[in-house]
C-alpha cells in the first residue's frame, strides 16, 4: 500500500502510466482476434508514421505533395532487392529508407530554395513524374501489372511473418519508434530551429540558422521514414503497382495532419485514427462512399479549421488576452555579464571596412561608391534625408542585398559573398523591427532561438539529450539578455502584443542574443516616447561599455549627436560628410542637404 502511494506521489507515475498503456496496446491481438480489425489497426500504424514524417517537414513550413513518391521509392526498392536480388529482408528494408533519403537529398538540394507555394508545386510535379516513372520503368516495377507475391518480412527467431497479429506487433513497435523519434526531434534544438524556420525563414537565416542545411535535414529525415513505411507497406500487402502510389496517398497523409491538427504529435495520430477507418464505416453506402468521404472531410475542416486536436487545445487555453492585464515595466540593471567580443576592447583597430560599395536597382543608384570604416568599440551614426540609401547600406552589409560593386571587410576577412546566416555567425547582427520577429513565439523563445543558433551544439548529441550543459548555458544567457534589455516583465508575452517601445527592445534583445561584435541599429528610437528613448540610450551606453561596436541609422539628429562618436552623412546614395558630431553640425554641405538650401 505504501509503495503504491509512493508510486502515485512520485514523479514516476506519468511515465509508468504510459509504459503500462503501451504494454496494453501491444497485447491487443490477444483479446481481439478479428483479422479485419487488426488489418485496419495495421494500416493506422503505417498511416501514423507517414503522417508524422510529413509533419516533420511541414514544421519547417514546407508542405510536400510527394509522400506517395517516397512511399513508392521505398516499396519498390525493397521489393526489387528482396525478390530480384534475393537479399535478406532487413537489408532491403534499410535500403528502402536509404534510397528515399538519397532521392530527398538530391531533390531537396534543387527545390528547397523555392518558397511557399512554389515548393509545394514542385513536389507535386516530382510526384507526378515519379508516378509515370513507376509505370514506365517496367524491368524494376513491372509497370501497371505490378509486383505480386512480395514475401513477408522475416524476423530472427520467429521466421517470416504470417498473421495480422504478428504484423500488428511489428508495426506497433515501428510506430512507437517513429512517435518517440519525432517527440525527441521536436524537443531538441534542431526541432526548435525547424520551428523557427517554419515561422519565418528570413528571420531564422538572419539570426544565424543555416536554413538550407536544416531544411534538407528535415526533408531527408521525413523521406527516410516514409521510405521505411513504404517497405513495410509493400511486404505487408504483398502487392504493389503504380496505382498503389497515386496522388491520393499524399493527399490522405495531408488530410491526416489537417484533420487532426498540424504542428503537434497527437494531432496527426488523431487524424489517422479518424480518417483511416472512415472508408470502412462508409462501405455500407456503396455508391456514395467516395462522395461521403469528401463530405465528411469538408465538414470536419469546416467546423474544426485548426484540426480536431488544435480545436480542443484552443478550447482549453481560452484565457482571453484582454482579461489578463499586462503589467510591464522597464527594469534595467546596470550590472551584466554578457561579454561582446573582448570586453572594453576600445583599441583602435578597424572592425568593419566598406570599400567603394555601390548598389543599383535597375538604372537607379541607391548607393554610389560608399567607403567607410569603423573601429572596434566605436559608435557610428549614419544620417541622411529619406531615400538617402541608409537602409540599403544596412541590407548590403547584412547580405540581404548583394552590392553591385565593392567589397566589405570584417575583421580582415572579405565577407562580400557570404550568406546572411554566415554573416551573423561572423558577429554582425542587425536589429529587427518587431514585425519581423518570430510571430508565434514568446519573447523568451525568440531570444532562446537566437542563442541556440550560435551555441554550436552537436546535432546528434543534442538529439539524444546529451547537451545538457550547453542547454544550461543557453538558459543563463537568455536570462542575461532579458535583464540587459529590461524585458523581465514581458518574458512570456508574444512580441506582437507588446507596446511599440517594448517591441523594439525585443528586437534589440534578439540581436544581442546572437552575441554580435558589431550591431546594426535601424532607427532605434522611431516612434518612441522620451522615456523609452532614454532607456535605449542607457542600454546602448551599457553595450558600449562592454565593448560592442555599433552602427546606427537614425532620423532624430539630437539622439545621434548625443550617442555617436562619429557621424556619416548620406544624400542621394553618396557620402557627403563624415566626422565628429561637432564637425557635422558645422558642415555646410550637411546643412544644405537637411534644410534644402
Amino acid at each position: 500500500m505504501l509503495q503504491v502511494r509512493r508510486l502515485v506521489t512520485s514523479r514516476m507515475w506519468k511515465p509508468s502510466l504510459s509504459v503500462g498503456a503501451w504494454a496494453l496496446g501491444i497485447c491487443i491481438p490477444f483479446y481481439i482476434k478479428d483479422p479485419f480489425f487488426l488489418h485496419v489497426l495495421n494500416i493506422i500504424f503505417i498511416g501514423i508514421t507517414m503522417a508524422l514524417s510529413w509533419g516533420i517537414l511541414a514544421r519547417t513550413g514546407y508542405i510536400s505533395f510527394a509522400s506517395n513518391a517516397f512511399l513508392g521509392i521505398g516499396a519498390y526498392t525493397s521489393a526489387y532487392l528482396v525478390m530480384q536480388l534475393h537479399i535478406y529482408y532487413w537489408i532491403g528494408y534499410f535500403a528502402a529508407g536509404a534510397m528515399a533519403g538519397f532521392f530527398a537529398l538530391f531533390l531537396g538540394k534543387i527545390i528547397l530554395r523555392l518558397k511557399g507555394i512554389f515548393f509545394v508545386l514542385s513536389t507535386f510535379c516530382f510526384a507526378q513524374i515519379m508516378l509515370r516513372v513507376f509505370r514506365t520503368a517496367e524491368h524494376i516495377t513491372k509497370g501497371a501489372d505490378g509486383i505480386t507475391g512480395i514475401p513477408t518480412p522475416i524476423l530472427p527467431f520467429i521466421g517470416s511473418l504470417e498473421s495480422h497479429a504478428q504484423f500488428y506487433v511489428l508495426f506497433y513497435v515501428y510506430a512507437t519508434f517513429v512517435v518517440i523519434f519525432t517527440m525527441r526531434l521536436y524537443n531538441s534544438n534542431i526541432g526548435r530551429e525547424f520551428k523557427a524556420i517554419g515561422e519565418d525563414m528570413f528571420v531564422a537565416e538572419s539570426m544565424g540558422i543555416d536554413t538550407t542545411r536544416r531544411k534538407i535535414i528535415a526533408f531527408v529525415i521525413s523521406s527516410i521514414i516514409t521510405g521505411l513505411s513504404g517497405s513495410f507497406h509493400a511486404h505487408y500487402t504483398s502487392f504493389i503497382s503504380d496505382t498503389t502510389f497515386e496522388m491520393t496517398k499524399s493527399i490522405e497523409v495531408m488530410a491526416y495532419n489537417v484533420v487532426g491538427g498540424m504542428g503537434s504529435i497527437i494531432g496527426p495520430i488523431i487524424g489517422v485514427c479518424v480518417m483511416v477507418p472512415l472508408p470502412e464505416f462508409l462501405r455500407g453506402f456503396v455508391a456514395y462512399q467516395i462522395a461521403l468521404y469528401g463530405l465528411i472531410l469538408i465538414l470536419i475542416l469546416r467546423f474544426f479549421p485548426a484540426g480536431i486536436w488544435g480545436t480542443i487545445r484552443r478550447a482549453h487555453s481560452t484565457i482571453p488576452a484582454e482579461s489578463k492585464s499586462l503589467r510591464l515595466s522597464y527594469e534595467l540593471t546596470k550590472e551584466f555579464k554578457l561579454g561582446f567580443g573582448n570586453p572594453i576592447r576600445h583599441n583602435r583597430e578597424t572592425l568593419l571596412e566598406c570599400r567603394k560599395i555601390s548598389r543599383y536597382f535597375g538604372g537607379l543608384a541607391a548607393l554610389t561608391d560608399i567607403s567607410f570604416s569603423i573601429r572596434a568599440g566605436e559608435i557610428l551614426g549614419i544620417v541622411g534625408p529619406n531615400g538617402a540609401g541608409k537602409s540599403t547600406l544596412f541590407n548590403v552589409i547584412t547580405k540581404v542585398l548583394s552590392p553591385t560593386r565593392g567589397t566589405i571587410i570584417f575583421e580582415g576577412k572579405n565577407i562580400t559573398g557570404l550568406r546572411p546566416h554566415r554573416i551573423n555567425r561572423m558577429g554582425i547582427a542587425r536589429v529587427f523591427q518587431s514585425k519581423v520577429l518570430y510571430p508565434e513565439a514568446s519573447v523568451k523563445e525568440n531570444i532562446v532561438r537566437a542563442i541556440v543558433a550560435r551555441s554550436g551544439f552537436n546535432e546528434i548529441k543534442d538529439f539524444f539529450g546529451l547537451e545538457r550543459r550547453k542547454h544550461q548555458v543557453i538558459l543563463e544567457q537568455t536570462q542575461q539578455v532579458l535583464e540587459l534589455c529590461g524585458l523581465y516583465s514581458a518574458t512570456g508575452e508574444l512580441p506582437k502584443n507588446l507596446p511599440h517601445g517594448f517591441q523594439r527592445l525585443v528586437g534589440l534583445a534578439v540581436a544581442l542574443a546572437t552575441k554580435p561584435k558589431l550591431l546594426l541599429l535601424d532607427e532605434p528610437i522611431t516612434g518612441m516616447s522620451l522615456e523609452e528613448s532614454d532607456i535605449i540610450a542607457r542600454i546602448l551606453e551599457n553595450l558600449h561599455q562592454s565593448g560592442l561596436t555599433i552602427i546606427m541609422v537614425e532620423h532624430n539628429v539630437n539622439f545621434v549627436m548625443r550617442i555617436c562618436h562619429r557621424i556619416m552623412v548620406l544624400d542621394y546614395g553618396q557620402k557627403i560628410a563624415e566626422g565628429t558630431p561637432q564637425e557635422i553640425r558645422r558642415n555646410p554641405e550637411v546643412i544644405k542637404a537637411f534644410l534644402g538650401g
Binding site: I111, I117, Q128, I129, V133, Y288, A291, L297, L301
Partner: protein, 291 residues
C-alpha cells in the same frame, strides 16, 4: 514527318490549347485573385461535360440549349462550393487546399454514383470535315475552337471593358486599397470565383465530344490548368494563353509521335524547370520582396 501530318498534329494541338486556355484562365483567376488553389477546378470541367451529355442524351435537348443549361448549373454549383466550403476556409491557404480535395471526392463520388462510372461519348450536331491541303479539319473540333474563342473574347471584354472588370483588376492588385476605394471585394470575390469556375465548366462543355467522359477525369484537368498557369505565370492572362499553347502543342506532338505517358512526364519536367529558373512563370509579374 510529312507536312500534312505536322499540320494535323498542330491543328489538334491548337484545339486542345483553346480548351486549356479556358481552363487555365479560370484557374488563374481563382488562384491569383482569391488565393484559392482549387483542386476541384477540373471537376467542374468534368461536370460541364457530364451535364451536357445528360441534357442531350437523357433529356433530348439540342446542344445549344444544353450548353446554356449546363453553364447555369455550373455557375450555381460554383456559388455553392464557394459559399459552403472554400470561401469560409480561405483564410488558411492550406486548409483550403485540403478542403478543395474533399470537394473533389464529393463531386467525383456524386457523379459516378448518379451517372455510373463507365465512359461515354457525346456527338455534336455538326459533322463532316474540310480537307485543308491534306490536313483534315473536322467540324466538331472547329466548333470547339470557335466557341472557345468566343467565350474567351467575352471573358476578355468583361475583364478589360466593364466596371466589374475594373473592380476585379483593382482587387487583384491590392484588395485593401480596392476596399478603401469603395469596391465591395467580397462581391468581387464571389463573382470572380463563379466566373472562373464557369470558364472551366464551359471548357468541359465545348470539349465533351473530344475525349470519352469519365467521372475521375476531373483531377487530370485540374493538373493541366495548374501546369499552364505555372508555366505562363500566376496572375497573367496573356501568360495563360501562351502557356496553354505551349502545353497543348507539346502534348499533341509528343502524344502522337512518342507516347502519351512521355508527354505528361515532359510537361511536368517543363513546369519543374520553370519553377526553378523563373518561379513567377514565363509572363508572370515578378514580385520584389521588400525586406
Amino acid at each position: 514527318m510529312s507536312l500534312s501530318l505536322f499540320g494535323q498534329i498542330a491543328f489538334n494541338g491548337i484545339v486542345l490549347s483553346s480548351i486549356y486556355v479556358l481552363l487555365a484562365v479560370g484557374f488563374n483567376l481563382v488562384w491569383g485573385i482569391l488565393g484559392i488553389f482549387n483542386f476541384a477546378h477540373g471537376h467542374f470541367y468534368m461536370l460541364g461535360a457530364f451535364l451536357t451529355w445528360y441534357f442531350i442524351s437523357s433529356l433530348g435537348f439540342n446542344f445549344y440549349i444544353a450548353f446554356i443549361f449546363s453553364g447555369v448549373c455550373i455557375f450555381v454549383m460554383a456559388a455553392i462550393a464557394l459559399k459552403g466550403v472554400l470561401g469560409p476556409l480561405r483564410e488558411n491557404e492550406f486548409v483550403c487546399v485540403i478542403s478543395s480535395l474533399g470537394l473533389c471526392s464529393l463531386i467525383e463520388g456524386l457523379v459516378s454514383a448518379i451517372f455510373g462510372g463507365e465512359a461515354r461519348i457525346v456527338n455534336l450536331p455538326v459533322s463532316g470535315v474540310i480537307n485543308f491541303g491534306g490536313v483534315f479539319l473536322s467540324f466538331p473540333r472547329l466548333a470547339t475552337l470557335l466557341i472557345s474563342l468566343v467565350v474567351f473574347s467575352v471573358f476578355l471584354f468583361i475583364v478589360y471593358f466593364t466596371n466589374f472588370g475594373r473592380a476585379l483588376r483593382a482587387t487583384g492588385s491590392d484588395p485593401e486599397i480596392a476596399q478603401v476605394q469603395g469596391i465591395n471585394i467580397s462581391r468581387v470575390y464571389f463573382i470572380t470565383f463563379c466566373l472562373g469556375t464557369l470558364l472551366a465548366g464551359l471548357g468541359g462543355i465545348v470539349a465533351c465530344h473530344i475525349t470519352p467522359l469519365m467521372p475521375h477525369m476531373g483531377i487530370d484537368f485540374s493538373l493541366k490548368a495548374f501546369i499552364v498557369v505555372v508555366l505562363g505565370g500566376l496572375g497573367s492572362i496573356p501568360g495563360a494563353v501562351v502557356g496553354a499553347l505551349i502545353i497543348g502543342l507539346l502534348e499533341s506532338f509528343i502524344s502522337s509521335l512518342v507516347n502519351p505517358m512521355v508527354s505528361i512526364i515532359v510537361s511536368f519536367m517543363v513546369v519543374l524547370l520553370i519553377l526553378l529558373v523563373k518561379p513567377s512563370g514565363l509572363m508572370g509579374i515578378e514580385r520584389i520582396e521588400s525586406r
